[in-house]
Amino acid sequence: AQTVTQSQPEMSVQEAETVTLSCTYDTSENNYYLFWYKQPPSRQMILVIRQEAYKQQNATENRFSVNFQKAAKSFSLKISDSQLGDTAMYFCAFMNPPGFYGGSQGNLIFGKGTKLSVKP
């Protein structure tokens, strides 16, 4: 079964600095999807960024970018110019693609999360 591991339960960063959140996953598949979700204190789950495994180019969304290392099964999130509003839980998630016959295609498998605090 696929698993997602976030090894940093908590992190902190100074405002305007850069921080990187780690995520590793375990799969024997060649094609799949990876996601980072943000959950601020409001509890709302918000998609930050999505990466298709067949794409070699790392996904970016404004101040958020990923470092996708397929061979190492690593999918880290970099937040540049951190802002107070970035304070949140961040969840890494994995999804099997169409055609996966393991029974869980299309299901999101989440890591346990990293609590990020941005300090003024």
Binding site: R43, Q44, M45, F91, Q105, G106, L108, I109, F110, G111
Partner: protein, 112 residues
């Protein structure tokens, strides 16, 4: 646009009682999902529905049931609640099974 609404926002329930958590989306999404979020465990999929009239089991389906009578609604029922079902429950929807999932605001359920 409301997106996804969940009701109630929070609830305290006596063990052994039944409870239905409501979820409604106005985006005409085909797929809908129920997750539970427990401290230190992240989100885990309970049940899902690819389209109206179909449902499937997720990672932790025991003790829960769902129905999908129409596109917009996806209620989650606990037939006989137990304390281990104390959690925050999130409903989500997506246009298709492999598209971005949009989440509701969550329901905090406490079973005593």
């Amino acid at each position: 646009t409301a997106g996804i609404t969940q009701a109630p926002t929070s609830q305290i329930l006596a063990a052994g009682r039944s409870m239905t958590l409501r979820c409604t989306q106005d985006m005409r999404h085909n797929a809908m999902y129920w997750y539970r979020q427990d401290l230190g465990l992240g989100l885990r999929l309970i049940h899902y529905s690819n389209t109206a009239g179909t449902t499937g089991k997720g990672e932790v389906p025991d003790g829960y049931s769902v129905s999908r009578a129409n596109t917009d609604d996806f209620p989650l029922t606990l037939a006989s609640a137990v304390p281990s079902q104390t959690s925050v429950y999130f409903c989500a929807s997506s246009e298709g099974r492999y598209n971005e999932q949009f989440f509701g605001p969550g329901t905090r359920l406490t079973v005593l």
